[in-house]
């Protein structure tokens, strides 16, 4: 069984935002509204042990094992695939935004009718893949996965800060990294079971794989 997961290596992210750009073009997100990206890279500055640190922090949907967004959906428009990604069917979604409120990771945003109209101009009517107003979120580029490709953000990342693979395959790099026990997830205390893992620095033996 496949169990898709992503590891984010904070150490190598340089904050170039290429992942955001690749994602937005691949998934035709409403780029004219900065609050409507499927993935973000947060530019953080903080003091640690007496010195200032600048850190780039990528985030996206955590494709939870126990997704609260799915259980609150009253139309069945969002569901979890057996292989992991949590998806939305915009032709079913009525856009109540209960899922967005249920998500602790702020991974969902609304695509309004105005956004759809604008997308028709921006991406071209003949290329438009999202003709319905609905909630939207990252699904690990489901269409690309079906073609055997990695998510667009992973493929475009020049520093390999995003590592994608199958957690059920013990030989995959994500499995090896998670097996080190040095990764952590976001808000694990909520019991959502995230499938996006963060690591501060890859262990020596795995850095060159």
């Amino acid at each position: 069984m496949t169990h898709y997961a992503m590891v984010i290596n904070i150490d190598t992210c340089v904050g170039c935002n290429a992942c955001m750009a690749a994602c937005s073009q691949e998934n035709q997100t409403p780029v004219w509204d900065p609050s409507k990206f499927r993935t973000y890279v947060h530019d953080e500055e903080f003091q640690k042990d007496g010195r200032w640190v600048r850190q780039f922090f990528p985030r996206l949907c955590n494709q939870c094992d126990n997704p609260p967004c799915v259980t609150v959906c009253p139309t069945g428009a969002t569901w979890k695939e057996p292989s992991g990604p949590v998806r939305i069917d915009p032709d079913i979604c009525m856009g109540c935004e209960a899922c967005a409120n249920a998500c602790p990771y702020d991974a969902r945003y609304p695509i309004t009718r105005e956004d759809v109209a604008k997308a028709r101009e921006y991406y071209g009517a003949e290329f438009l893949r999202r003709p319905a107003a609905a909630e939207d979120k990252c699904d690990f580029c489901w269409d690309r996965l079906q073609r055997g490709l990695e998510p667009a953000c992973v493929e475009t990342c020049v520093t390999h800060a995003r590592i994608f693979g199958d957690l059920d395959d013990p030989n995959s790099l994500v499995s090896k990294i998670v097996a080190t026990g040095k990764t952590q997830t976001l808000l694990p205390e909520l019991g959502t079971g995230p499938n996006v893992f963060y690591i501060n620095k890859l262990p020596e033996g795995l850095a060159n794989e």
């Binding site: 904070i10 900065p34 609050s35 973000y40 947060h42 530019d43 953080e44 500055e45 903080f46 003091q47 640690k48 042990d49 640190v53 850190q55 922090f57 985030r59 609260p68 799915v70 259980t71 609150v72 959906c73 009253p74 139309t75 069945g76 428009a77 079913i92 979604c93 009525m94 856009g95 109540c96 935004e97 209960a98 967005a100 409120n101 249920a102 998500c103 602790p104 990771y105 702020d106 609304p110 695509i111 309004t112 009718r113 319905a132 107003a133 609905a134 909630e135 040095k182 952590q184 976001l186 808000l187 909520l190 019991g191 959502t192 963060y198 690591i199 501060n200 620095k201």
Partner: protein, 340 residues
């Protein structure tokens, strides 16, 4: 640097669910309380036909207006039919909106069926020119007789489903795990008590200001409202001091609420304490004027709205990353950076 990832925390209030949903939660609770109390009062406590019709139709209007407002909130209202069909409870049973929608629809249907014989026998309706013949149609008379025969069953269906609507408005908020102000067992009880309290206040307004008929039932409503407000104050205190201090999200909500004069003066003092005192004095020695009761009822209604307003406005998320609000992702009434 050590091995763990350094998480910067941003605390941000939500702004997805705003005025339309606040009105929906308020009107839904008020309307459900009205149908439940009106039907129960008519069936078992000798409420007049006029008061029952006022209560039920105001309740129906409140629930209908609240639902229509919610349609404007939806991204694609045409898809709403999926939650309106009864079999949705088998397709999407994990969502409270699924159940709440069905509770609301059927509470409205059974409440109308309960008062249908009252309408059928209302002399005023029969005096309307051109309408009298309509009451003589066989199926109309038959339907009224059937509803009359099963009045007790219809009453209990209305009461149970209406109470379920009131509880649902709280359960809906409770199903969002990241917001401590919402995700706790107090909220469903609080919203239910508030719904019943606002409904009693509305019925007191009808009795004192519209029907000018305030007998023993009105006094029972006043005393019941006083008890409900006391319970509401206890639940609020339990929530503020028993649940919110446990998490960062909860502490932020607490600070926002207790730092807001609208919450303290508008809701806690004028929405709860003042009407409680007015009704307490009224129960110890009856007021000679209807003005204090009317004032208390208006304050309770405003308080019920403010409760939902501040609950939605100050639902706080604790995001484990920095600058969550710099792109306008969510509202940012409070932003604090804490190094874990």
């Amino acid at each position: 640097m050590n091995d763990s990832v350094h998480l910067v925390v941003t605390t941000a209030t939500q702004d997805r669910w705003a005025a339309l949903v606040i009105w929906y939660l308020f009107l839904g609770g008020l309307g459900a309380g009205l149908t439940a109390i009106s039907v129960l009062s008519h069936r078992y406590f000798k409420a007049s036909t006029a008061l029952t019709l006022w209560g039920v139709f105001a309740g129906e209007a409140a629930m209908a207006i609240g639902s229509i407002l919610l349609l404007f909130h939806l991204l694609d209202p045409l898809h709403v039919w999926r939650v309106l069909v009864p079999w949705n409870i088998f397709l999407n049973p994990t969502a409270w909106i699924t159940w709440g929608t069905q509770f609301l629809i059927w509470a409205m249907v059974f409440a109308i069926l309960y008062v249908w014989p009252l309408l059928y026998r209302a002399e005023a309706l029969r005096r309307i020119p051109g309408l009298n013949w309509w009451f003589e149609i066989g199926i109309v008379r038959w339907s009224a007789e059937i509803c009359e025969r099963f009045a007790t069953l219809l009453a209990w269906l209305t009461v149970i489903l209406s109470l379920a609507v009131a509880v649902y408005t709280g359960l809906l908020l409770r199903s969002f795990p990241a917001v401590s102000l919402w995700h706790n067992p107090i909220v469903p009880a609080l919203f239910t008590v508030s719904a019943l309290s606002t409904a009693l206040a509305f019925l007191l307004l009808v009795q004192y200001a519209v029907l000018r008929d305030h007998g023993p039932l009105a006094h029972a409503y006043e005393r019941s409202d006083m008890v409900l407000i006391a319970i509401e104050m206890g639940l609020i205190a339990w929530l503020l001091y028993g649940f919110l201090p446990a998490t960062g999200s909860g502490r932020a909500s607490y600070e926002l609420l207790m730092g807001n004069m609208g919450w303290i003066v508008g809701f806690l003092i004028f929405g709860l304490a003042v009407p409680f005192l007015i009704e307490l004095v009224g129960s110890l020695r009856s007021w000679h004027s209807p003005v204090p009761v009317l004032a208390a009822a208006v304050l309770v209604l405003i308080g019920g709205f403010l409760l939902r307003h501040y609950f939605l406005q100050y639902g706080v998320y604790d995001f484990p990353w920095g600058n969550a609000s710099h792109l306008g992702i969510l509202g940012s009434d409070v932003v604090q950076h804490v190094i874990r």
